[in-house]
């Protein structure tokens, strides 16, 4: 019964965050997953190896924000700010990583699709949170 209370449209944010976390363990443009690339690059001390952890970090931050907003809707503004931080990591990742892998852009792996879907779901969730609350307040 309690679980049913938390199953609403905002669950999309949780799904998006989980998809984003999962994308870390699949390949984006090469045969290696992002986590494997992080391990390889950090072992040879390449300065931006941490970049490959950004989808994971973004997913975790957005998962916290999504869970918070489902648990207590009053925290919506703070959650939106947490979402901004989480998606900020993803934006940096997209800009830096995609421009690095520009030659392989025509042949993306499943990780890329999962990353984009997760990102869009979270974005949709934020807009949905803000619009729904606005409508509720107008109705009052």
């Amino acid at each position: 019964m309690k679980l049913k209370k938390y199953l609403n449209i905002y669950i999309l944010g949780v799904i998006g965050s989980v998809i984003l976390i999962i994308s870390e363990f699949f390949s984006w443009f090469t045969d290696y997953s992002l986590i494997e690339r992080y391990v390889i690059y950090s072992s040879v001390a390449i300065e931006d190896s941490f970049l490959y952890l950004f989808p994971l970090m973004s997913g975790i931050i957005c998962l916290i924000a999504s869970s918070l907003v489902i648990y207590k809707i009053e925290l919506k503004i703070k959650c939106v700010i947490i979402f901004f931080v989480g998606l900020g990591f993803m934006i940096i990742f997209f800009i830096d990583y995609i421009t690095q892998e520009i030659n392989f852009i025509s042949n993306p792996g499943i990780g890329f699709y999962l990353g984009v879907i997760g990102f869009l779901l979270i974005l949709f969730n934020i807009i949905n949170i803000l619009i729904t609350i606005e409508k509720q307040m107008d109705g009052n």
Binding site: L87, G88, I92, L123, I126, L130
Partner: protein
Amino acid sequence: MSTGTIYHHLETLKELVDQKTDKRYYLSELGVYAYSSLKNNIETIRSPDFTHRELRSPILRKLMKITSKRFIQFEKEDKALTTIISLSILITGTILTGLNGFYSFLLFFIESEQSNMDLFLQILISFTFIVNMIIFFIIIEGISRLFYKKKENTFNFFISFAIIQFPMVFYLITHLIFKSFWLLNLSVFNLLDKILLIVFQVWSLWLLSYGLCAMKGLKIESCLIISLLLHYGSFTIILFVLV
């Protein structure tokens, strides 16, 4: 409405209304004062949910302490000071953009590919900070006019608009320090630089939402939607340009 209900409301308003000899009810002196106060402050009263509820959060209060809301939602006597602060931010931002070799695009900075630029080109690039701010303002003003029919406070909003870029000036300073000491080649500092960019961008987005809310009387939710769409819209443009 029943007589009982009317008497109940009259009892509640007893400080504000008086019954005169003609048996009619009129506003008392306090009532007239309360009415004028409500009428003259209608814009402030329209968004109480934002100013009173959202800013109760300790994190947001600390953020607003650093970037004083006094200069975003300024009074007449603070106009000159706000203008000076805005101009200082613009000048500092312009110089720092040039020194870092960045192009400014809304809340993003794109690194110039040329390593040894001549001075004229560097100065020209640094002015993208000012051009960017003007374009940014036009887009925001346009959106609030087109979609929300809010035409008020345009000039005041313009005067305080550069304050939105205040956190980005912090980022430019830290980036310049990292760059000058070749620290960006180290993994930790490279990561720190990226995290600082994200944090300062979010701070700027919050200031943008706050400014819109205070100057245009929009709800904080609508302001956050505008900030969000603009930020992710500019990200998409950058991605397409770079690809």
